[in-house]
């Protein structure tokens, strides 16, 4: 009798153990404070929305088991030293099985050192700088189009609109913006655009008066540059209040955020090389469509998603897909699945370079160029103006003519 009872308890134990909720722990830092706060929060919301939706649907299903997603996150204060400490902590103490990157190329480069040292997979998003993937790595996977490709579409469009334009490059001197600027300048010269001014500024600059005076003195008619949200938004405001008469203005990152509407008239006509816009109508092989994602995001956060949010959500989708394909949460198996990923989500095509020289660099994803325009009621709205396949409106060019012209031009184009 006792033997039967013991057997029964043992069977019950095995059965409940098999049915017990498994968790997969993903670690990452968020810049709750510091200059990267705005963009980092938008990225975090993408992660969070993905986690909540997947957990509500029963978790990630792999190898006959269901894994609930658990996040371990800390505030990195936008500081590399904190990133180094916290990623070490998340891996060694909190036992995170997978990592997402912090926001920004600079912080991601620091996190990558730690994750590679510990042999952990990190999906990077909000981090475009190419160099991080060219230092020899096994477990880094980049969601964003690399920095070297950021300005290609903007410059092609500019050349098509006015080949005699004179371009000023004014970028922040952090690693991402410098990489974009260097590649942009080289490409501009290659396609025959005249570069008349070229200067870098410290990312915490708030007074752009001296630089704008120099841009005006150089007789530049197109302005390309910026960095992240804080300095980009300030540049846009000050270019507007100083009436820098530009026909084309393209800033990195900042105009991609829905917060950019706070600038009012200063936002008008500003273009942004964007990793994703809701109008990018990719047909996903799995996960939500762009419209579904935007709707869920709006409902949860009362704000439209930026491309940082889309990148965050897509990072989750791609990791989930790889775990499902691998049938396990084992690092080597998931890495192998990620290496063979060639999938389209609402974010676009995701395919990673697998060679040793640039492992993890994003090969499949394409940028679009978006521009803030006014709709018929005068409300500011972001439209995709390039490439033609993703276009939702004609570009407003030159922008110094102001909003009144937009409505007339928009009517003409439509």
């Amino acid at each position: 009798m006792r033997r039967v009872f013991t057997l029964f308890v043992f069977a019950l134990f095995c059965w409940t153990a098999a049915r017990a909720q498994q968790t997969v722990t993903i670690g990452f830092t968020v810049s709750n404070t510091g200059s990267l706060n705005v963009d980092s929060l938008e990225q975090y919301r993408g992660f969070e929305l993905w986690r909540d939706q997947v957990n509500a649907a029963g978790g990630i299903k792999a190898g006959g088991k269901s894994y609930q997603i658990k996040f371990v996150t800390y505030d990195d204060e936008s500081q590399p030293q904190r990133v180094q400490q916290l990623y070490t902590r998340m891996i060694l103490q909190d036992k995170a099985q997978f990592l997402f990157s912090p926001y920004s190329s600079g912080l991601t480069a620091t996190a990558a050192i730690v994750t590679e040292q510990n042999g952990k997979i990190m999906i990077t998003t909000g981090a475009a700088e190419d160099k991080t993937y060219k230092l020899g790595n096994q477990y880094l996977f980049q969601m964003f189009t690399p920095a070297s490709d950021y300005l290609t579409s903007a410059l092609d469009l500019l050349k098509a609109k006015d080949a005699s334009t004179q371009v000023a490059f004014v970028c922040a001197d952090d690693s991402f913006s410098s990489a974009v600027a260097a590649a942009g300048k080289a490409y501009a010269q290659k396609i025959g655009l005249k570069v008349v001014f070229d200067e870098a500024y410290s990312p915490d600059t708030t007074d752009f008066g001296p630089i704008i005076d120099k841009v005006v003195a150089s007789k530049a008619t197109a302005f390309v540059g910026g960095g992240h949200y804080a300095d980009g938004a300030t540049l846009a405001r000050q270019l507007y209040s100083r009436k820098a008469k530009l026909e084309f203005l393209s800033l990195l990152v900042a105009p991609g955020s829905p917060k950019f509407t706070e600038l009012g008239n200063a936002a008008f006509g500003v273009t942004v090389p964007s990793q994703w816009e809701v109008q990018s109508a990719y047909k996903p092989q799995f996960g939500p469509t762009g419209a579904e994602f935007a709707k869920a995001y709006q409902a949860k956060y009362n704000s439209p998603p930026s491309y940082e949010s889309a990148g965050g959500y897509a990072a989750g989708l791609i990791l989930q897909h790889a775990i499902e394909q691998a049938g396990a949460i084992d690092t080597a198996k998931v890495a192998s699945a990620l290496n063979s990923t060639n999938a389209t989500t609402f974010f676009g095509l995701t395919k990673f370079a697998t060679g040793a020289k640039e492992h993890g660099l994003q090969m499949g994803h394409n940028m679009v160029l978006a521009q803030w325009q006014e709709d018929k009621s005068g409300k500011l709205d972001k439209e995709v103006v390039w490439p033609a396949q993703a276009q939702s409106a004609q570009i407003v060019f030159p922008i110094w003519q102001g909003p009144a012209k937009t409505i007339a031009q928009a009517k003409q184009a439509k």
Binding site: G34, T206, D207, P210, K214, A230, T234, K243
Partner: protein, 285 residues
């Protein structure tokens, strides 16, 4: 209009604001020998004060400077009693430490309330254009407001009884006490006035540039450079020293990358310390 003139004019306008930001530090240092490390935090509080008032009341931002001045004065009195009263006349390290402690408290509370995301005051006056260059209305108004406040301080110090008392205490505290002047009250009011000017300069800066609770630090550093350039003894001299610094920046920026500007500023700091230790407008000790 040539680029260099535009740059000099911009430098002049922003130099007025640098000067105003430094006057409070100069006044407190000159009168009571206290190096006030809450100066930067006061500037930041002025920025947030203007932001909060402007967001809740749809009033001209420059009119809002009046309640901000009053609030800054009150805040200065509070800090005086908290951190300064017992360390006046003691070794300089004590006043540095105690004002630094208050500075960290203000920044800590500010970070909790407002995090470190940048804020903006969306108030814009139409600018004036000369050729292809535009000088924003906010810059012009801030420079005018700075000159008015500095002028008001000069009138207060040289044409009122209490101003004379402040100058007496600055000259010789003991002798002033013997003449029947309550030096504690004078020092308290001086600290209040110095803080009020710092807070007002913060409010003006908020109309020009975005800010966080940490933004005061840069202006505090600059105020040290301006104070050393001006010398102690004539606080309004700090306005002229600030203008000089602004003009130097304006003269130099068309020719070099702006990331070299801090090097120029602090190079000037060292040169002035070596060649003009009393500053350009300082009185003999």
């Amino acid at each position: 209009m040539s680029g260099i003139f535009a740059s000099l004019l911009d430098g002049l306008l922003v130099g007025c604001v640098y000067g105003l930001a430094a006057i409070g530090l100069n006044l407190i240092w000159g009168v009571m020998g206290v190096i006030n490390l809450t100066h930067g935090a006061m500037i930041a509080l002025g920025m947030f004060g203007l932001y909060l008032l402007f967001s809740s009341l749809a009033v001209n931002a420059y009119i809002l400077l009046l309640p901000i001045l009053a609030a800054g004065f009150a805040a200065g009195i509070v800090v005086y009693w908290m951190a300064v009263y017992r360390v006046v006349g003691r070794p300089a390290l004590m006043s540095l430490l105690s004002t630094f402690a208050v500075n960290m408290m203000i920044i800590g509370i500010g970070t909790t309330l407002w995090s470190t995301s940048p804020y903006n005051v969306n108030f814009n006056l139409p600018g004036i254009s000369l050729g292809p260059y535009t000088f924003t209305g906010n810059h012009i108004a801030a420079a005018i407001a700075a000159v008015i406040l500095a002028g008001a301080l000069h009138l207060f110090l040289y044409y009122t009884r209490f101003g004379r008392a402040i100058r007496a205490v600055a000259d010789n505290r003991d002798a002033a006490e013997l003449m029947g002047i309550s030096s504690t009250r004078v020092l308290m009011v001086t600290f209040g006035v110095g803080s009020a000017l710092a807070v007002a300069s913060g409010g003006l800066i908020a109309t020009l540039f975005p800010f966080t609770i940490l933004s005061g630090g840069v202006y505090q550093l600059r105020s040290f450079v301006v104070t050393v350039l001006a010398g102690l003894g004539r606080p309004v001299g700090a306005l002229f020293a600030g203008i000089l610094l602004g003009l130097l920046e304006g003269a130099v920026t068309p020719f070099i990358a702006i990331s070299w500007i801090p090097l120029i500023e602090f190079g000037l700091f060292v040169v002035v310390l070596v060649l003009f230790p009393r500053g350009l407008f300082g009185r003999n000790a």
